[in-house]
Amino acid sequence: MTTDNTALIKVRDLKKHYNYGAIKALDGINIDINKGDVMVVIGPSGSGKSTFLRSLNLLEEPTDGSIVFDGRDIVNEKINLDEFRERMGMVFQHFNLFPHKTILENLTLAPQIVKGKSKEEAEKKALELLDRVGLKDRASAYPVQLSGGQKQRVAIVRALCMDPEVMLFDEPTSALDPEMVGEVLEVMKELAKDGMTMVCVTHEMGFAREVGNRVVFMADGNIIEEGTPEKIFDHPESPRLKDFLGKVLEA
């Protein structure tokens, strides 16, 4: 684990318990996320990966522990949470686009009402980013008119429109038809290449190996093993990870 002081997000002893400790979704997570990291979180279902990711922008309120983002403890200090969330983009498994708004409105709403940008400014940026993911011609469509892969690309762009410092991906390809997974991963690869700090929960082992610079293996609410993709995939140490990789890579 790297522990230099420049870490963008420092997670310390993060716990999420249900029923007064009867269920431990997160059981003391410690990790630093540095600027420019592409951290991929893998692990069996129910291991707490998603809970961990959702805790990072406090969609899930941790029971205990601290998350220091850019020098401030967002769990324990009294802070304006909305300001911090604005700096962390999030992409969901089920896209969660706003169905009553067009694609362009989806992208420009938050920049306008949260950041106070003008409509022209917000639309200019949105169209620029839409163009980069190849969906500029769908700007006036509604989310229901788009395929799953297109929706997810729009969802990524929606988060990017807020100029986030970190992007959190919660199983972004799990709800997609297989032939659409590629187009979404391609956008994520582009992002990683541009130096975006990313934390990504995924089952795409190929993506983890190719794009991630750090891979974290979680099980039972703990981080079991962490390291470079080579270390995790080619030289796994713990039996849990070996067992997991055996099952996943076989399929």
């Binding site: 400790g21 909305d82 983009g89 969901f92 706003f98 008119q145």
Partner: protein, 259 residues
Amino acid sequence: MTISWGNIEKILTYGNMFQQGLIVTVLLALCTVFFGFFLAFGLALMLLSDVRPFRYLEKVKTDDINKKKRNDFIAKFNPVKLIANCYVQFVRCTPMLVQIFLVYYIVFGFITLPKFTFFGFIQFERFFPAAVALALNSGGYMSAVIRGGIEGVDNGQTEAARSLGMSKAQTMYHIILPQAIKNILPAVANEFVTIIKESSICYTIGVQDIMFNVKSVQSATFIIAEPLLMATFLYFCLCFPTSKIIEYVERRMRQSDNR
């Protein structure tokens, strides 16, 4: 007792009274739903509010699990929600007739309303208390519908909006309400139909709605059955087409979801 054409023809000469009753009934229902909706909306927001004066107790760290449970229980206390809940339960668990009498004889027993008529025949000092009582009642019932409509919007929408940095109020206004309104409007329209029927008990405080005029015609002509049939016919003709229209609009709205 017999029903004869002769009697029907006789009461048709009082058609003017039935017509006035019809106008009062519809007007009463419209006022009720209009004001009831705002009350219900306020109540729904209260029911969904997150005002917890003792929420800091959640954060208190203690190793004693019973103490922790006690703290969490107190932290859940939400006075705003409690007030709204008490109100809704009061409305649901007492008879409408009692509520109307409470409003008319007690509340407006202390407040003196100006006596005047509007539209030429509607007595304000009777119409107004009736509208208030009905609105208070239907607001209580509709609050559950509105809360359901808001809660029916997928939680992912809230999460997405909050993750973009929108505040709670912004999320509610820009994301949740526009979607919830589709769930809510048909139910509110149905409440209008319900109120048309339920407002018939307002004749007990002298509001000249359809039922009141039935009584008047009965006592003027000593004909009992036919005025009642007339009222039945009128109520049915009001409610049946309205509910059919609502059904149609609702179906159209559902289709437009798949645009």
